[in-house]
């Protein structure tokens, strides 16, 4: 099997056994990027030189009998929202065009300390605002299953890169589903860790109280391996949890036997039914059925406040975002637009420059949310909007607590639909927001969640995902149950779901979009 088809765990074994070198593995992925990224646009920046340099260093270490950890030498892609010293970081926004951070995010520093060569920065909705990656200032990313369709968002670039074998591993960030929903619609695995489990230092904030970085991979075990590299307490992040991570790799390995005897699985009544695509629901029900057969005790649980989660989210997120994005004012870094102000001969003031830069530098969705957030925090409206939203947030947390009294994990479809067509919802923000219906409650409450592929929907033959949620700090449970369901499904399918994806490259060059000949 060519290196880029193998999982990170398999590559790590190959490197350890001396059957491959990091330079070979990294070069294979860079070649794959060269081959397919013109059609996908998963990457905003590729750092071949830096990745190969780090790969060579890894090989030298290994030759000297040293290793920086289980993923030393395994290449990785990083969402463009993480600060990377010396590598451009734009967050998918024109306003950060050309910005090269002078520092590494803690997650990035840990990747470097773990010996993982960074192949590049992946595309995303501008400042992580979106569910389709169409809101990137640098153009959309395409879904490897169907180039006419969206790869989910905001982390569509990371998911598409992993799904198309451009990288075995990627870093995503999940504020309302931006790791899990792209995972669902690209047939990959995405984990949103417990809030505070992975440092946010260097993650350019969308909504500070919701953001969490996590692994984007093709298998549950790979996600656990990556999670252990990036997770754990960071003194630079006050909201970082001090306790050590649970044993995640161990949980993933244990779950791989497919045995769920004694595990209580709660099906959340409010996360399903109306608004969910039939094929998505069918695959979800099959997954629940498989878990039951594997010994799980399946119960239905009700979380009544979840119906208000979306509305709550769209008050808290814009409020925090409107404040976070205030710093983009052309004074210190990023884009600067200097307007002509000819009246009375005076040059433009600082305010004129700020205004013109923000007008030119932010996209429509970003402006929409800044305005929403500014309004929600305004004097006289705070209590009715932001204050009220925080109360509902408490109710969501109480619902989770009650549900976890009856179940060890909760399950639901990850996203209500499969991948929709590029352009289909871009002018309908409310329809776009509905994509995160099932993923948002976990962010509001800080609990961990994983999305794994549940199969292909009958209507369109596109991947759907199942989401598994666990109580805060019990990330090991999502790995154990996720790995079990993954192996049960693989047995049904006779292999990984991604094996069923149409090849991106056929004889004579890149495959064209199924529906739109012009794409790609």
């Amino acid at each position: 099997m060519s290196p880029e088809r193998r999982t990170a765990a398999a590559l790590a074994d190959a490197l350890a056994a001396g059957e491959a070198t990091s330079v070979e593995v990294t070069q294979a992925h860079l070649d794959r990027i060269d081959e397919v990224d013109g059609a996908l646009h998963a990457f905003l920046h590729v750092d071949a030189e830096g990745a190969l340099r780090d790969a060579a260093a890894s090989d030298a270490r290994r030759a000297a009998g040293e290793s920086w950890g289980p993923l030393d030498g395994i290449p990785i892609a990083v969402k463009d929202v993480m600060a990377t010293r010396g590598l451009p970081t734009t967050c998918g926004s024109r306003i950060l065009a050309g910005w090269v951070p002078p520092y590494d995010a803690t997650v990035v520093a840990r990747l470097r300390a773990g010996g993982l060569p960074i192949v590049g920065k992946t595309n995303m909705d501008e400042f992580a605002m979106g569910s389709s990656t169409e809101h990137s200032a640098w153009g959309p990313t395409h879904n490897p299953w169907d180039l006419a369709r969206i790869p989910g968002g905001s982390g569509g670039g990371s998911a598409a890169a992993v799904a198309s074998y451009e990288a075995p591993l990627a870093i995503g960030t999940d504020t309302g589903g931006s790791i899990r929903q792209p995972g669902a619609v690209t047939g990959t695995v995405g984990v949103k860790p417990t809030y505070g489990g992975v440092s946010r230092y260097g993650l350019v904030a969308l909504a500070n109280s919701l953001d969490q970085a996590g692994p984007v991979t093709r298998t549950v075990l790979d996600a656990a391996l990556l999670h252990e590299v990036i997770g754990g307490h960071d003194p630079l992040d006050s909201t970082s949890i001090e306790q050590p991570l649970p044993a995640l790799v161990e949980a993933a390995r244990r779950g791989a036997d497919g045995d769920l005897t004694g595990v209580r699985v709660g099906v959340v009544k409010e996360l399903g039914g109306e608004g969910y695509q039939a094929g998505v629901l069918a695959r979800f029900e099959e997954s629940v059925e498989l878990m039951t057969k594997a010994g799980a005790e399946v119960v239905e649980v009700s979380c009544p406040s979840f119906v208000h989660a979306l509305a709550t989210y769209y008050l808290i997120l814009p409020a925090e975002a409107s404040s976070n994005l205030a710093r983009f004012d052309a004074m210190r870094y990023g884009l600067r637009v200097t307007p002509d102000v000819a009246e009375n001969g005076a040059g433009p003031s600082a305010e004129d420059v700020m205004r013109a830069t923000r007008e030119a530098g932010f996209g429509d969705e970003v402006k929409r949310r800044i305005i929403l957030g500014t309004y929600a925090l305004s004097s006289g409206y705070y209590d009715a909007y932001y204050g009220q939203a925080q109360k509902v947030r408490t109710l969501v947390t109480r619902d989770f607590a009650a549900a976890f009294g009856h179940a060890d994990v909760l399950v639901s479809p990850t996203a209500p639909t499969t991948a929709f067509k590029i352009g289909e919802k871009v002018d309908d923000p409310l329809a776009m927001y509905l994509n995160d219906l099932a993923t948002i409650p976990a962010n509001l409450s800080g609990v961990p969640g994983i999305s794994i592929p549940s199969g292909l929907a009958d209507e369109d033959g596109l991947p759907a995902g199942v989401q598994i949620l666990a109580p805060a700090m019990a990330d090991d449970r999502v790995y154990r149950v996720g790995a079990a369901l993954e192996s049960l499904l693989a047995a049904e399918w006779g292999g990984a779901l991604l094996d069923q994806a149409p090849p991106l490259v056929e004889e004579g060059g890149l495959r064209r979009s199924r529906d739109h000949g012009g794409e790609g």
């Binding site: 992040d237 925090e320 710093r327 210190r332 870094y333 004097s379």
Partner: protein, 496 residues
């Protein structure tokens, strides 16, 4: 534009002033409020910065525990309650010297609240209520290049972010009422005594000229006896104790002229101009300014442990007013003597001199007499003269044992000011010790009697008061190094 002012007497005849003082104190922690950057004053621009205090995308704040401790100590010293649970909040507004375009501050959950400080002005004590003391970060410093010196009309502006993120405590008083004519003095005394309190706590350099203590004066007038509050102005840039008093008085007179004319005071920020002694209009401050406060999501709430708070309370230095009362009683000073001692900044010096063995009145006499005169002449503070309490105590000890008289002692102080060494070294080097050789003294007395026969006769006739002239002659011959009392005895022995 010149403001119309009402005479101060007319102001008081018609209006009651209400004061409100907001003091920003830069803490003297080694590092900034939310990052590890140095706080040293005077470094080259933008050399004490990092991703966090520059507000770079992705950076996060971490609270400086020492700053929290200082905030709690200040709160306790101001008789405040200390919050059992409190948070930081974001104050959102755009300004180029604010890296994130929000200031991390505290809003409705300050760490300390509801306290008081007693302020003494000319023997009357005014209790100033403390509304709150909260933590926040400083902004960067803008320098506007151009004729106006202000952002409007500047050719360009320079920003130094070294100051951005330095820990600040903002101390806000409740409205201070009932001060009448003394409002300007009370304002000044409050800031002065607050400064002394902070100095005693060791939490800040409190240098007004360097901006490590900054004061905004809020003032309003209400018709006399109405019991209401008028429309206030907030005067900024008040950077000395004298300015606090002058700016308060100026605003009282300016408000009064507007109100007496039937006008309405504009609620606004004013700028104080030290050189011209006037305030001018700043940006209009209205209810339209909305800071959109919300709890800082990057910082977890703080819950200072009660044991810790009580430990900090137990370790507080004695409050200045209690210390003054105790020392006054111990020393037996009159109110006037005490006020002069405090006013001269000599309280600690006198205390240490007494501790070194000098009597209270004598210690006071040296510091507020001889040494205060010399400090005045050289325009320095007493504490900076170069004379220590130990020196003063030693000089007085030499006087007490008869080795020096007051006149010789003053020459020892000359030596001390000139840096000639310890009092004993100076006495030896300058040969200042009193001559106790009876032979030399007797000879000098005999010379004096022989040289002044008319005076000697007067004394023989019973006019003992004339002895002064002979004593003077002896002292002159002895170059002052004689005990005047012994000389008198010797003169009288011979002539009566």
């Amino acid at each position: 534009m010149t403001d119309t002012l009402l005479s101060y007497d007319d102001v008081l005849a018609q209006f009651d002033p209400a004061l409100g003082l907001e003091v920003h104190v830069e803490l003297n922690t080694a590092t900034k409020m939310f990052c590890g950057c140095s706080t040293t004053f005077g470094a080259d621009p933008n050399t004490q910065v990092c991703p966090t205090c520059l507000g770079l995308p992705g950076s996060l704040p971490v609270v400086n525990a020492k700053a929290v401790e200082s905030a709690i100590r200040i709160g306790l010293a101001l008789n405040c309650e200390i919050a059992e649970w409190c948070r930081f909040a974001r104050k959102n507004y755009f300004y180029p010297d604010m890296p994130k375009n929000f200031q991390t501050s505290q809003y409705d959950e300050p760490i300390a609240f509801n306290g008081w400080m007693d302020v003494e002005v000319e023997g009357t004590t005014y209790r100033v209520g403390i509304e709150r003391a909260h933590m926040e970060e400083d902004t960067g410093k803008s320098t506007h290049i151009g004729t106006t010196g202000r952002i409007h009309g500047a050719d360009y502006s320079l920003v130094d972010y070294n100051r951005a993120g330095i820990p600040l405590i903002e101390i806000v008083t409740k409205p201070v009422l009932g001060t009448g004519a003394k409002a300007p003095e009370v304002a000044r005394a409050y800031v002065g005594q607050l400064r002394a309190l902070l100095l005693g706590l060791g939490v800040s350099d409190v240098r007004m000229e360097q901006g490590s203590l900054r004061c905004d004066v809020n003032l309003s007038l209400a018709p006399r006896g109405s019991g209401t509050l008028g429309i206030r102005t907030e005067t900024k840039n008040v950077n000395s104790l004298r300015s606090v008093e002058r700016a308060t008085r100026y605003e009282m007179q300016r408000h009064a002229a507007i109100l007496a004319d039937g006008g309405k005071v504009l609620q606004e920020t004013r700028h104080w101009h030290e050189d011209t002694g006037v305030t001018t209009s700043g940006r209009e401050k209205s209810d339209a300014e909305d800071y959109r406060y919300f709890p800082e999501p990057d910082l977890v709430p703080m819950a200072p442990g009660r044991e810790w708070v009580e430990q900090l309370r137990a370790e507080l230095p004695e409050p200045p007013h209690e210390r003054r009362a105790r020392l006054q009683a111990e020393w037996g000073f009159s109110d006037l003597e005490m006020r002069d001692t405090v006013g001269a900044g000599a309280l600690g010096l006198v205390e240490e001199t007494i501790a070194a063995g000098t009597s209270p009145q004598t210690a006071r006499k040296w510091w507020l007499g001889e040494l205060a005169r010399r400090a005045n002449e050289s325009e320095t503070e007493l504490a900076d003269l170069g004379v220590t309490p130990g020196d003063v105590a030693r000089v007085q000890a030499l006087v007490d044992e008869g080795s020096l008289n007051d006149k010789l002692a003053r020459q020892v102080f000359d030596g001390l000011l000139d840096g000639e060494g310890t009092p004993d070294e100076i006495v030896a080097a300058r040969g200042l010790a009193i001559v106790s050789d009876e032979g030399a003294l007797s000879a000098a007395v005999d010379h004096a009697i022989a040289a002044n026969p008319e005076v000697a006769d007067k004394i023989r006739d019973g006019k003992v008061a004339a002895a002064g002239a002979l004593i003077g002659a002896v002292m002159k011959e002895m170059r002052g190094q004689a005990d005047a009392n012994r000389v008198r005895e010797l003169v009288l022995e011979r002539l009566t």
